[in-house]
C-alpha cells in the first residue's frame, strides 16, 4: 500500500470564485492569529487566499470575518 507523503487537504478551504483577494482584500490573512494564511496568484492571474501552513487552531475568525463568505473551516469531528 502506498504511503501518503504529503497532506492533500487542509482545514481552511477558500472558495476561489467568491474570494476577493484580487480586489485587495486580506481580511482572513490579517485576522489569523497563527498567520498561516497567504494570498497567492493563480495560473489564470487571479489572486486568492489559501492555507499555506497546516497549523489551524480552529478559532474561526477567518470564516466569520470573510466579507464574501468564501472561507470554510472544516472542524474535525472530535472538536464539534
Amino acid at each position: 500500500m502506498p504511503l501518503a507523503q504529503t497532506a492533500t487537504t487542509v482545514p481552511v478551504v477558500v472558495n476561489d470564485d467568491l474570494c476577493i483577494a484580487d480586489k485587495g482584500c486580506t481580511v482572513c490573512v490579517d485576522v489569523c492569529p497563527l498567520d498561516v494564511l497567504r494570498i497567492v496568484e493563480k495560473d489564470n492571474g487571479k489572486k486568492t487566499a489559501y492555507m499555506k501552513y497546516d497549523e489551524c487552531w480552529y478559532c474561526m475568525p477567518c470564516e466569520a470575518d470573510c466579507p464574501t463568505d468564501a472561507v470554510t473551516v472544516n472542524l474535525p469531528y472530535l472538536l464539534k
Binding site: 476577493i20 484580487d22 480586489k23 485587495g24 482584500c25 481580511v27 466579507p67 464574501t68
Partner: protein, 320 residues
C-alpha cells in the same frame, strides 16, 4: 508643511477611497467600504451610508457591519433604514451595529421607529435605543409590552430597565407576570434599581415562580433591593429543588449580611455540588458566625480548588 507634519501620513483621502464605491465589481465596492471604515474618520459615514443602499447584498452587509465603528444620528439613520432590507444577513448586521451606538443623540434617528409594525425592526430599534437611555423611549417601550412577540417584549423590558424610572414600576411588575420566561426574568433583573416595597414584593412573589430561571433572577436581584422582607423570603428558597436558585439565595444572603441564616447555610456545605459549596463557603465567610466553623472545617481540603480556597478564607475570617 512643517517638519512634524511630514512625519505623518496624510489621511485626507476619504474622497479617493469613496470612488471605489462606484466600481462595477461588488468585491471592489466591499473593499472600498472596509477601507473607508478603517480610516475611522466620521467624514466616511455619508459614503458608508450610501453603500448601505447598494445593489449587492454583500456590500450592504459590509456597510452595516462597518457602521459599528461609528456613532451619531447619521449612522443610526442609515442602520435603521437597513432594517427594511430584503436580505436577513443585512438586517442582522444592522441590528447588531445598532446596539453598539453610544451617543444618546443618535437615538433621535431611532425614536420615530419605536412603533414599527415589523417585529424584527421594532426589536432591533428597542435594542438599539436601550443603552442610549432616551426618556422619550419610555412610552413606546411600555406600549410594546403588549406586543404579541415575546422577543419584542423582552427588549421593551430592557429599555424600561435601563431608564431606571420609579414611575415605570407598575409596567415592570406587569412584565414580571408575563407568559414568557425570558420576559419575566429580564423584568425581575430590571427591578434591582428600585428600593421600593412594591419592587421587593414583586421579587419576593417571583421566588415562587414555577420556572427555576425566574426564581434564580429574583433571588439574585433581592440582594440589591435589600429591604426588610428579603431575608425571610430568601431563607425560604434555601431548600429550592434547583441548586442554581439556592446558589443565588446563598450569595444574596451573604451580601445582605443575614447572620440569622448562617446556621441554615452551614449544613448546605454537605451538598455534592461544588459550585454551591463554593458559594456557601464564601457566604459563611462574609457572615462570620463562629458556630459555622464545624461545617467548614470538613472541607478545608475539598477536591475542588475553588471550594478549598473559599473554605480556608472563610475559616480565617471566622478566626479573626
Amino acid at each position: 508643511m512643517t517638519a512634524v507634519d511630514q512625519l505623518f501620513e496624510d489621511f485626507d483621502d476619504i474622497a479617493d477611497l469613496a470612488e471605489g464605491l462606484d466600481d462595477p465589481s461588488p468585491g471592489a465596492r466591499i473593499m472600498a467600504v472596509i477601507e473607508l471604515a478603517d480610516t475611522a474618520d466620521p467624514a466616511a459615514i455619508p459614503f458608508i451610508a450610501r453603500a448601505i443602499t447598494d445593489d449587492d447584498a454583500g456590500v450592504r452587509k459590509q456597510a452595516a457591519q462597518a457602521l459599528t465603528d461609528f456613532d451619531g444620528v447619521e449612522t443610526a439613520a442609515a442602520l435603521v433604514s437597513a432594517l427594511d432590507d430584503d436580505d436577513p444577513a443585512v438586517i442582522d448586521a444592522a441590528a447588531r451595529s445598532l446596539t453598539e451606538l453610544k451617543d444618546p443623540k443618535s437615538g433621535g434617528a431611532i425614536l420615530p421607529h419605536l412603533s414599527a409594525a415589523n417585529d424584527v425592526k421594532l426589536r432591533a430599534c428597542l435594542a438599539g435605543i436601550k443603552e442610549l437611555r432616551r426618556v422619550e423611549a419610555m412610552g413606546p417601550a411600555i406600549a410594546a409590552l403588549q406586543h404579541v412577540s415575546a422577543e419584542v417584549r423582552e427588549q421593551a423590558v430592557g429599555v424600561i430597565g435601563w431608564l431606571q424610572d420609579e414611575s415605570a414600576l407598575p409596567a415592570l411588575r406587569d412584565a414580571a407576570k408575563d407568559a414568557d420566561v425570558k420576559v419575566r426574568r429580564t423584568a425581575l433583573s430590571a427591578l434591582g434599581f428600585s428600593k421600593s416595597d412594591h419592587a421587593e414584593a414583586t421579587l419576593v412573589n417571583a421566588l415562587a415562580d414555577p420556572e427555576w430561571m425566574v426564581r434564580e433572577a429574583a433571588a439574585e436581584t433581592l440582594a440589591k433591593t435589600g429591604g426588610a422582607s428579603c431575608i425571610a423570603a430568601l431563607r425560604g428558597v434555601l431548600g429550592d429543588e434547583y441548586w442554581q436558585v439556592r446558589l443565588k439565595a446563598v450569595r444574596s444572603l451573604g451580601k445582605l449580611r443575614a447572620t440569622e441564616a448562617a446556621m441554615e447555610i452551614g449544613p448546605m456545605m454537605d451538598v455534592p455540588v461544588p459550585n454551591l459549596r463554593k458559594e456557601c463557603a464564601a457566604a459563611l465567610g462574609e457572615l462570620a458566625v463562629p458556630e459555622t466553623a464545624q461545617f467548614l472545617e470538613k472541607y478545608a481540603d475539598d477536591r475542588d480548588p475553588d471550594v478549598r480556597k473559599n473554605v480556608r478564607w472563610a475559616l480565617e475570617k471566622l478566626a479573626a
